[in-house]
Structures are given as C-alpha cells and as structure tokens.
Amino acid sequence: MQKAIIVGILGGLFNLEGRAIGELMFSQPLVAGTITGWLLGDIHTGLIIGAILQLIWINMLPVGASIPPDSSLASVLGVTFAISLLSSHKLPSDIIMAYSVALAIPLGLVGKWMDFHLREFNANLSHRVSMYASQGNTVAIDLITGAAVVLSFFKGFILCFIATLLADRILLDILVSLPHQIKDGLRLSWKFFPAIGIAVIINMFCVKKFISFFIGSYLFVVILLAVAGFSKIILFLIVLSIAILMAFEMRKFQKDGEIC
C-alpha cells in the first residue's frame, strides 16, 4: 500500500512534468526509470528498463496535436513491477525484466488513452476561462489552471496507484504459473530488446545521405576494438568528437556552406 502511494505520487509528478509544466524531460524513460529505481532501492534495474524503453520510444514525438504513448508512466510501472518481482521471487532477472517491459508497454498506451480524454475534458475548462475572461475575473483563471494541474497529476497518480496495487497481487502468480517454455522464451527475447532499440535508432538517423557515414563509423570502431585494443569508453569519446567535428566542419565538403 505504501509503495503504491509512492509510485502513484511519482507517476503523477512525472505526468505533470511531461505533459503540463516545464518539460525539462525528467519524464523521459531514461530519467524517470532511474529515479523510480532509486526510490525503490534498485537503481541498476531502473536504469536498464528505462534505457530500453527510451530506445524503443525514441521516435515518438509530440508534434502538434498528436499524443505519443505515455513513456514516463510506462517506465515508472515497468521498473516498479521488475523491482517487486525481483525482491519477492527467485527467478532469473532476464525473465523478470522482459516480463515487466512487455507488461508496461500496454500501460503506456492506456496512459495515452487517458491523456486523450483529459484533453477533451479540458475543453470545458477552456469554455469557463472565456466566460471568466469576459467578466475580467483573473483570479478565477488562475484557479482553473490550478485545477488542470491537479487533474493532470491525478491522471498519473490513479494509473500508477491502481496498476501497482493490482500488480502486487496478480503479476507474480501469473509469472510463476506460466509454462517454462514461455519463461525461456522471455529469457531469450530479453537479449533481442537492445537490438530493437538500435534498429529504431538506425531507422531514425540513417537517412540515405548518411548511410556511408554510419557504415564507416561501424567499421572504424570494430577495427580499432579488435586490432588496437582500445577501451570502449575512450573509443566512444573519440568517435563522438570526430562526429561533432565532421558535422560542424562539413561546409568544407559542401558548395553552399554557411555557418548556422
């Protein structure tokens, strides 16, 4: 119960941050998962699940009026499920992580559905605002904005609270009663989740123009790792600085070069 309240408050705050106030991107899965994991006492799990969800949903953009899946609530819930399953049962962590990610993704879609209805409801508040504006009542407009903030908080709170409460009772029993083939299938599929994330990244960044750069950097890193035995972190920093240099000195290769 206490845990459900903590997770609910976290979900509400992340929902506020991502959909209403500020948008500093604390609500991105990478950060939200880490903070949830830290509060529940297992940063490592939080980081890994957050990173996986971040990669899978990296190209879901809130452009214009479109609503992306609620990745922050999905990561909060995924991390919560994983940590409570890890603490209460002696199954390999691969199975538990894959199971929690697979369960958290539909909840992100539930969050999106709730968001849609919340935004439809907000139309009523907007009508009230125009009524108060024609009376010159500015305090009422402030109060209505406050009410919208509270509603947005409660959207995240309710979803996370109920999901965590139910999860504690049901999820474990389901996971234990699954046949061992499905468990092994989950364990095997966990190895492929980063591959999905990388495929999403390639799909996003490697437009036709840059495919030669992509292959070039792959071969460069592979050869340096295999032959010269560089450490991975140093190699990553080298590639990053080369990339930045190339991107901002590219006008040497172009005719109409101008500085941004």
Binding site: R119, S126, T138, I201, V222, A243
Partner: protein, 257 residues
C-alpha cells in the same frame, strides 16, 4: 506604464505552464493567457480595458512549448505600447500571434522533437550502456542527458524571452537568419555516426578470429538488427516488433531450439 523586472520574471515562470489546459479546441490559448495575466493586471488598471485585453488572448493558439517565451516577449512589448497609447491598433496582437506561432512551432518541432531530443537520448543511453557496470558512474547517463538537453531549452525560455522583449518585432529577422534545417541535418549526421559506433560497441569482437563462436553470434545479431530496421521501414512499430520477438522466441524454445 512600464513592466518591471519582477513582472518579467513572474511571466517567465508562468510560461512554464503553457501546456496545462491543452485542449483540442483552442490548444494552448489558456496557458498563454495564464502567462500574460500578471502583465495585463498591471498594464490595465481600468476594468473595461482589462476585459478587452483578456479577450484578445482567447483565440486558438498553438506552438512549440519552448517557443512561447519568444512570442510572449514580443506580445508583452506590444501590450505595453498599447497601454501607453503609442500603438492604436489592437488587432496587431492577434496578427503577431497567428503569424509567429506556425513558423516557430515548425522550427521547434524539427529541432527539439525530431533531432535534439533523440540525439541526446541516444547519447544518454549509450553512456548508460557503457557505465552501468561501474558503481560510481552509474547515473552518469541520465545526468548527462538532462544537462545537455536543457542548455538550448533554457536559452530559448529565458534569454530568448528577454531578447524578444527588448527587441520587439526585430527578433523575427534574427530567427529567420538561423538556418535550422542545416543544423538539424548536422545533428542527424552525428546521430548516424553514433549509431554505427553503438552497434560496434554493443556487439563487439574482443579478439578477431573468423568462424569463432563469438564471431557467428555477432554476425547473427547484426543481421537481426538489419532485419528489424527493414521491418521498421515497412511501418511496423517498435512495440509490435517487441511482442513479435517474444512470440518467435517462445515458439523456438517450444520446438527445442
């Protein structure tokens, strides 16, 4: 009547709430009104004038949330001029808003949503992958993500707002001179180079030997990634791919693979 520095800071703080009452009819218009209320309260002590000023801001308004600061700055300058009486035509406020919100939204969407955030998220996850085993640097990835991401964000929110307030409509030519399309392309180039680097780091050879077990495993993963990329090109979403992979794995385990 002039706005004090305190009013500007309050408006800047309130501009964080611009997406709060987001609705499908008038989008962020309530959020914009909420941000501008302190200025209107101060500029128009007369109730009738205040009501007409409030009503000016009820029309549909939608832009990129980080760009509201710039529009707010320009509008505050104009409202000030109207309150002083140097500007007679109140319709100009509406024109400025409707002419600025579209181009700025496109600019913010193409820079922040489709290039900057994915690129920095990729950077953060890569650092996480590299540093997750090390106890001291475990939260380096999220921290780097938050800090680097928010530098241009806060630049636009705060300095953009102040600059727009000081230079009024002159900010438009400054924005036009930014070549965002080229900048986005450069970020995509960095992203492409980093993507190649990430694959090589994740599925890497420690020792280079042909037809070694590790070699076959890496080739297998590489071809799986290529297959998944092709699937994504055919509009199968990543979440669907995830469930398809779980099902395929379960079936292959069932047949004793």
């Amino acid at each position: 009547m002039k706005l004090s520095r305190f009013d500007l800071i309050v408006t800047m703080y309130r501009s964080l709430f611009v997406e709060t009452v987001w609705n499908f009819e008038r989008m962020q218009s309530v959020g914009f009104l909420y941000a501008i209320i302190p200025a209107i309260r101060k500029l128009y002590p007369n109730k009738i004038k205040r009501i007409s000023a409030l009503k000016r801001h009820l029309k549909p308004f939608s832009t990129h949330p980080y760009m509201t600061g710039i529009i707010l700055g320009v509008i505050l300058k104009k409202e000030e001029e109207i309150a002083c009486g140097t500007e007679e035509n109140t319709k100009v406020i509406d024109d400025i808003k409707s002419n600025m919100m579209g181009p700025l939204a496109a600019l913010g969407d193409s820079f922040f949503w489709s290039a900057w955030r994915p690129l920095i998220a990729l950077l953060g996850t890569t650092i996480t992958m590299l540093s997750v085993k090390n106890q001291c640097s475990i939260i380096l990835g999220p921290v780097v993500f938050l800090i680097i991401y928010n530098i241009p964000h806060f630049y636009l929110r705060c300095i953009g707002f102040i600059k727009a307030y000081n230079s009024g409509l002159g900010i438009i030519s400054t924005i036009r001179n930014l070549n965002i399309q080229k900048l986005v392309e450069r970020l995509y180039l960095i992203g492409a180079i980093m993507a190649g680097c990430v694959i090589a780091l994740l599925f890497s050879w420690d020792k280079f030997k042909l037809l070694d077990i590790e070699f076959i495993r890496n080739i297998f993963f590489f071809s799986v990634i290529l297959l998944l990329t092709v699937a994504l090109k055919f509009q199968i979403t990543a979440t669907k791919l995830l469930y398809i992979i779980i099902i395929i794995c379960t079936i292959s385990v069932y047949f004793g693979f």
